[in-house]
């Protein structure tokens, strides 16, 4: 028989026991962690508004969470009732004349429901009693009478300053660093350093000397060029003076006895000669034009004559070929007396 069958009761018993023990341990641990078995003391407070209040938010005393808000309700006269509990560990801190303060921060830091302990000794405040808000009439009376230990209102500012402090320290470190860098540059400029910055400055000095020598040489060359330019300018000046001279070339050309005037004042003799020549050329060109038109009009007739002549020649050639091949003709062709043609070529025509 298998072990587990033989000892089935025991195996099942162990199986069940382990699970139950685990369950119990978990329940106890959970209860201890979540304060199932601890007693909570309930109190309430009245605030003018519920802004910033929520169920579950912690009630803090000197930075410690001593309880939690359990309920936020709208009470009579439009006031807000806040129910909360305080853990039994801190119940001795809940003394008479204590006040509650709702701390809200515009930048979201340091908000919460804060408990301010009343001054005095003795028993803790009775459960389910009112702990007035610090801005209520009762709370202000308690604070004004000095019956509660309310820390100064600068807590948030202090926290902000505490956050700003590291920033200032960083700025200070930066300034020290900048100071050191400036000193370093000063030494380099003074030539007291053999580091990269000092070497760079020395090279810059040498470069400046070379630039100065180059500028001196360039200046000498520029003086020579300017002298040449002055000579050219002198020549231009002489030419200009010649042109401005009243006895110079231009007045002579434009003089009343000059060549141009003489040429223009000949009573149109030259003009008339030129006009006659042009007329003669024009008439010749008209005749040429007429001749071209005639040749153009007679061209089809000439073409027809040439075509007929070509056909006649071909026929004559055939006849001659037939005659030369005919065996009957023995005596050839009777000779005829030549008779000159009345037609002459155009070349022989008389104009």
């Amino acid at each position: 028989m298998k072990f587990r069958i033989r000892f089935a009761q025991q195996v099942v018993g162990v199986f069940v026991l382990i699970a139950l023990v685990f369950g119990v341990v978990v329940l106890v641990a959970m209860g201890a962690n979540q304060r199932w078995f601890a007693r909570n003391y309930e109190y309430y407070s009245i605030f003018p508004t519920g802004e910033g209040l929520s169920v579950g938010m912690s009630v803090r005393f000197k930075g410690f969470a001593i309880g939690r808000v359990t309920e936020v309700t709208l009470a009579e006269e439009d006031l807000v009732r806040v129910d909360f509990y305080v853990e039994d560990t801190y119940i001795d801190r809940i003394l008479p004349n204590s006040v509650m303060q709702l701390v809200t921060s515009p930048i979201g830091i340091g908000g919460g429901l804060v408990f301010h302990q009343g001054i005095g000794t003795g028993e803790h405040l009775e459960e389910h009693s009112l702990i007035p808000a610090i801005n209520s009439a009762e709370g202000q009376r308690i604070v004004a009478a000095g019956l509660a230990t309310v820390p100064s209102a600068g807590d948030d500012i202090t926290r902000i300053i505490a956050q700003v402090e590291p920033l200032l320290a960083s700025v200070n470190t930066l300034l020290v660093s900048v100071d050191g860098t400036v000193n370093h540059i000063n030494k380099a400029l003074a030539g007291d350093q053999s580091e990269p910055l000092g070497l760079t400055l020395a090279q810059v000095n040498t470069l400046l000397e070379e630039v100065e020598a180059t500028l001196v040489a360039a200046r000498q060359e520029a003086v020579d060029i300017l002298a040449s330019v002055a000579v050219i300018a002198g020549n231009f000046e002489a030419t200009s003076a010649e042109l401005r001279d009243p006895t110079g070339l231009v007045p002579r050309l434009l003089d009343a006895d000059g060549s141009i005037t003489t040429f223009l004042n000949d009573n149109n003799a030259l003009y008339n000669e030129v006009e006659a020549m042009l007329r003669s050329i024009n008439a010749t060109l008209d005749e040429v034009n007429e001749l071209a038109l005639f040749v153009n009009s007679t061209q089809p007739q000439i073409a027809g004559i040439l075509e007929e002549s070509r056909e006649a020649i071909i026929l004559g050639q055939d006849v001659l070929e037939g005659v030369s091949n005919a065996p009957i003709i023995r005596r050839g062709i009777t000779p005829e007396a030549p008779q000159p043609s009345t037609f002459q070529s155009h070349r022989d025509a008389q104009f």
Partner: protein
């Protein structure tokens, strides 16, 4: 005479056409009547089966009460817990350790990137304790023990053992179904606790091989994230799933009539119906939990 014959021929054709039309109409009406009849019959049979199953479940519950009072057949109950609970423990342990380790490793790696590193504990509780723990355990038990129970009872029906019990005055429900019902329900609840042990603590051991998490810090956060409602709803889901598995398995086991070939068919049916009912009940309880909290 010829005219009279032609008229008779036309009348015959007309009467045949009318007869075909009437037959077609009657046939159509008969088909529609058949469909309605079958649908109604199926609804009635389903309703009847549902009420029969409810009556069967009521009988099991009532007999369970007497079983717990008289403590008879304790040995059957013990063996049922052994087979269903103890023997399924290795599978449950492997699945839960793997699942828990994956959640922790992924949570520790990913969630701090969104500034939500502490969210790994509520996720562990939600997945291991409240949601996947009960349903995965139920699936394993349904596939493993549900089929075994329906097959065993089906074979007993085929071999006329049930008839023998009845003829000897032994109620088969109180003697066969009730111990299995109680055994599966108890085993499911215990296995769910073990799933949590391995899923929450065993997976931590695996995770320490890869990352470094302080054990006290881990347990402290876990206990803060865990609530009594989580434990209650988890146990409720396990108990309901166990009841479904055992009732469905025994019900389909008793549904076997005469042939041994019916046994595997009923076993398959019991697993399929069991899975569906487990999912539905799990969803219902989850909704109830969210409405409650």
């Amino acid at each position: 005479m010829a005219k009279i014959k032609r008229v008779r021929t036309h009348l015959d054709r007309f009467s045949l056409a009318c007869r075909d039309c009437i037959q077609y109409y009657v046939g159509q009406r008969a088909t529609a009547v058949n469909i309605a009849e079958r649908t109604g019959s199926r609804i009635f049979s389903s309703g009847e089966a549902f009420f029969y199953a409810m009556g069967y479940f009521y009988r099991i519950l009532r007999e369970s009460f007497f079983f717990l009072l008289h403590k008879k057949s304790r040995r059957v109950l013990t063996f049922q817990i052994l087979f269903t609970g103890v023997e399924a423990l290795p599978v449950i342990a492997v699945i839960s350790i793997g699942l828990g380790a994956i959640i922790i490793i992924q949570g520790v790696a990913l969630l701090p990137q969104f500034g939500q590193g502490e969210l790994v504990y509520p996720i562990l509780i939600t997945v291991i304790t409240r949601e996947l723990g009960p349903i995965l355990t139920a699936f394993i038990i349904a596939a493993r023990s549900g089929t075994a129970i329906s097959t065993e009872i089906g074979n007993m029906v085929v071999s006329h053992e049930i008839e023998a019990y009845v003829s000897n005055g032994i109620d088969p429900i109180s003697y066969l179904a009730v111990p299995r019902f109680l055994g599966v329900v108890f085993s499911m609840m215990l296995l769910n606790l073990y799933f949590n042990i391995f899923g929450l603590l065993g997976s931590f051991v695996v995770t320490t091989l890869i990352t470094t998490i302080d054990f006290r810090y881990y347990v402290f956060n876990l206990m803060n994230a865990l609530t009594a409602a989580d434990i209650l709803v988890s146990l409720a889901k396990s108990a309901v799933a166990g009841a479904i598995i055992s009732v469905v398995a025994t019900y389909y086991g008793f549904q076997v009539k005469v042939a041994s070939t019916e046994v595997p068919v009923m076993a398959i049916k019991s697993v399929g119906r069991g899975f569906i009912l487990i999912i539905l009940s799990n969803a219902f309880l989850t909704v109830m939990y969210y409405l409650w909290t």
